[in-house]
């Protein structure tokens, strides 16, 4: 089998024997058969099948988003382990370690920036990946369970980011985590207890830092790596990714397949390189934020949770905390988890937005969300005052259940109106409602990030930044 005629020299024969003891196949495959075997034999590549449907290679199907999340995870692991060599998880040390890292350690600032921006990018990428799966019908049978695995991965990514947020122990970290864990207290009966366990005491302190560190560097990454492996394995067991189709046209009977090497692997490589280049450039240009040392005596004004929680923090300004921090997130999560078991519209798997009608409805829902959400925020700020109008009721009712019921009524009305007007199926209308809620969530997050200044007053973004800088 080995090409014996070239290996005349004993030394080359030895090298080639060692090489062959590690890699059983030639480095560069010469035929499709060898290309397939190479995938099967390789520990890393064998997460892929040896051939893939040609159509799934289109960038406009997956946008490479799942792969990007995996690449970012790798960057995070490498830079995270590097940071561990420079960082001590104690209130007396942590902040100084970060300062030292940024000023005295070669490439310390760059490594910190890479870790910081990759963590944030991973949230965005994982969220977009979820949307891609939703809008191409990739959550339906037989992929229901992998959808749930994906949601768990997204939650873990949020957890990793939130626990990492505290570690620099600056003002930003301290108060964002105080406010973020303050939400937990509103869970009925057990909330206070859970909060105390998470914090390791009544307030954010040394025990909190140690808790978060352990979660951040061990428990959450291990859980994520295990679930990611399962996620990848499941994709193959569920028959690969969905095959893209044009609306109203039946899928091809005969799927044409190409070898994974080079067709898929090459594309993955391009996505990885572009992503790494982008993250590197960004990290060279923009430093991860670091404010003054954490001071438990002085809260900054405004004190905001990390940006990915600002949608919920914005809800808190409009609803009783129990509704904003618990009821609405739980309902949303429950709906997302149950969705694949109730939406079994298998005809549209692989079609972006299900149908031409589905596309028009989604677009219209997005417009309504884009205009309606800011109007509702403004109305609640300046006009609506349920607490004042219904003074005899407890605030849980006047500021919680009443507005919640109004929002639910609005949603039901929207559903009914859309369904009738478009003569649409239930599934198309559910999709439009999802788009409406998604747009509302994004708008609320944007309002929370850029339109809330000192005292959480509504103001223009340039006023917010000048007020905060002046502070």
């Amino acid at each position: 089998m080995a090409d014996s005629n070239t290996a005349s020299q004993p030394s080359t024969r030895f090298v080639s024997r060692v090489w062959r003891s590690i890699f059983r196949r030639p480095l560069v495959p010469r035929s499709d058969r060898e290309r397939k075997l190479m995938v099967l034999d390789s520990l890393i590549l064998h997460i892929h099948p040896s051939t893939v449907p040609e159509k799934t290679l289109q960038l406009s199907l997956t946008w490479g988003l799942g792969g990007m999340a995996a690449i970012l995870m790798t960057i995070l692991l490498v830079t995270g382990v590097m940071l561990m060599f420079a960082y001590t998880p104690s209130p007396a040390q942590a902040y100084n370690d970060i300062l030292n890292l940024q000023t005295n350690v070669w490439f310390g600032q760059l490594v910190r920036n890479l870790h910081h921006w990759s963590g944030n990018a991973m949230l965005v990428v994982a969220f977009l990946h979820m949307l891609r799966v939703f809008f191409t019908g990739g959550f339906r049978e037989p992929r229901q369970f992998n959808w749930i695995v994906g949601i768990t991965l997204l939650l873990l990514t949020v957890g990793a980011n939130f626990t990492g947020y505290l570690l620099p122990w600056d003002q930003l970290a301290y108060w964002a985590v105080t406010v973020g864990t303050g939400l937990v207290e509103y869970i009925p009966l057990v909330g206070k207890w859970i909060q105390t366990v998470i914090l390791g005491g009544p307030e954010v302190g040394a025990a909190t830092l140690l808790n978060f560190y352990g979660l951040h560097i061990a428990l959450i990454p291990i859980a994520m790596l295990s679930l990611m492996s399962y996620h990848f394995w499941r994709i193959r067991k569920d028959g690969g990714v969905v095959i893209p189709r044009v609306p109203d046209e039946p899928g091809e009977q005969k799927v044409s397949r190409v070898t994974t090497i080079p067709h898929l692997v090459l594309r993955e490589l391009v996505v990885a390189l572009v992503l790494i280049a982008a993250i590197l450039l960004f990290s060279m240009a923009v430093n991860a934020p670091l404010e003054e040392l954490a001071n438990p005596d002085v809260s900054p004004n405004p004190a905001k949770a990390p940006w990915y929680f600002l949608g919920i923090q914005e809800l808190l300004l409009h609803f009783h905390p129990l509704v904003a921090a618990l009821v609405i997130p739980t309902l949303t999560l429950g709906a997302l988890i149950l969705l694949p078991y109730f939406d079994a519209d298998l005809d549209s798997v692989g079609v972006w937005f299900r149908s031409y009608k589905g596309r028009r409805m989604a677009l219209e829902a997005a417009m309504i969300g884009l205009v309606g959400t800011p109007l509702l925020v403004l109305a609640d700020e300046f006009v609506i005052d349920f607490v004042g109008w219904l003074p005899s009721l407890p605030t849980l009712v006047s500021n919680g259940l009443v507005p919640l019921a109004m929002v639910l009524l609005l949603l039901i009305g929207f559903y009914d109106w859309m369904k009738k007007r478009f003569a649409a199926t239930n599934c198309e209308t559910v999709q439009a409602t999802f788009v409406l809620l998604l747009t509302a969530f994004i708008v609320l997050t944007i309002v929370g990030i850029w339109f809330r200044g000192p005292g959480m007053a509504l103001m223009w973004p340039w006023d917010v930044s000048s007020a905060v800088v002046g502070h």
Binding site: V179, T181, P202, E203, S299, N301, H320, T395
Partner: protein, 167 residues
């Protein structure tokens, strides 16, 4: 072969096997529950003596004029002496989401910088979003010395005269 199986299904052996299976399953569940309980107990908060959470000596009664609010940063509370000479120890943690609430002497109220909650000198809510009055710590007055037990947090909806401690 088939006969044998039938026999073991009906004979006395299966009962023993079923019994053992039950025991094994039971022991397995018990072991899992124990491991879970251990994990929870292990992660319970560990508060060291002498830290915030112990009894703080604030000082002699006469050091605190009527109608005054004195901050104790280490103890994380304000000692508020009311008009009638009574004391309240207000936990400075905002009841909304936990920011540290500063006392604004010129305004005569506590004003939370985070989301604009305001409280009066008794801890009552003047301005939402805070859902309830500021929490209290028990005040002890021994031999004219005011002490505050920061280990016990008292939650309340609003001020009530029974909460005041008199020298």
């Amino acid at each position: 072969m088939a006969d044998e199986q039938k026999q073991t299904k009906l004979g006395s052996n299966p009962t023993r096997r079923d019994f053992l299976k039950l025991i094994w399953t039971g022991l397995g569940v018990l072991a899992l529950a124990e491991a879970g309980g251990m994990a929870v107990a292990f992660s319970l908060p560990r508060i060291a003596e002498g830290e915030f959470g112990g009894v703080v000596t604030a000082g002699p009664v006469d050091d605190f004029p009527r109608n005054s609010v004195t901050p104790f940063n280490q103890g994380r509370f304000y000692l508020s002496r009311l008009e009638d000479g009574g004391f309240l120890a207000l936990y400075r943690k905002c009841t909304h989401l936990g920011c540290a609430v500063p006392w604004e002497p010129t305004e005569g109220r506590f004003m939370c910088p985070c989301h604009a909650s305001a409280f009066d000198a008794k801890g009552n809510v003047l301005n939402p979003p805070a859902p309830r009055a500021m929490d209290l710590f028990p005040v002890l007055i021994e031999d004219g010395i005011v002490k505050v037990d920061t280990g016990t947090v008292i939650q309340r909806d609003k001020f009530d005269p029974s909460q005041v401690v008199y020298p």
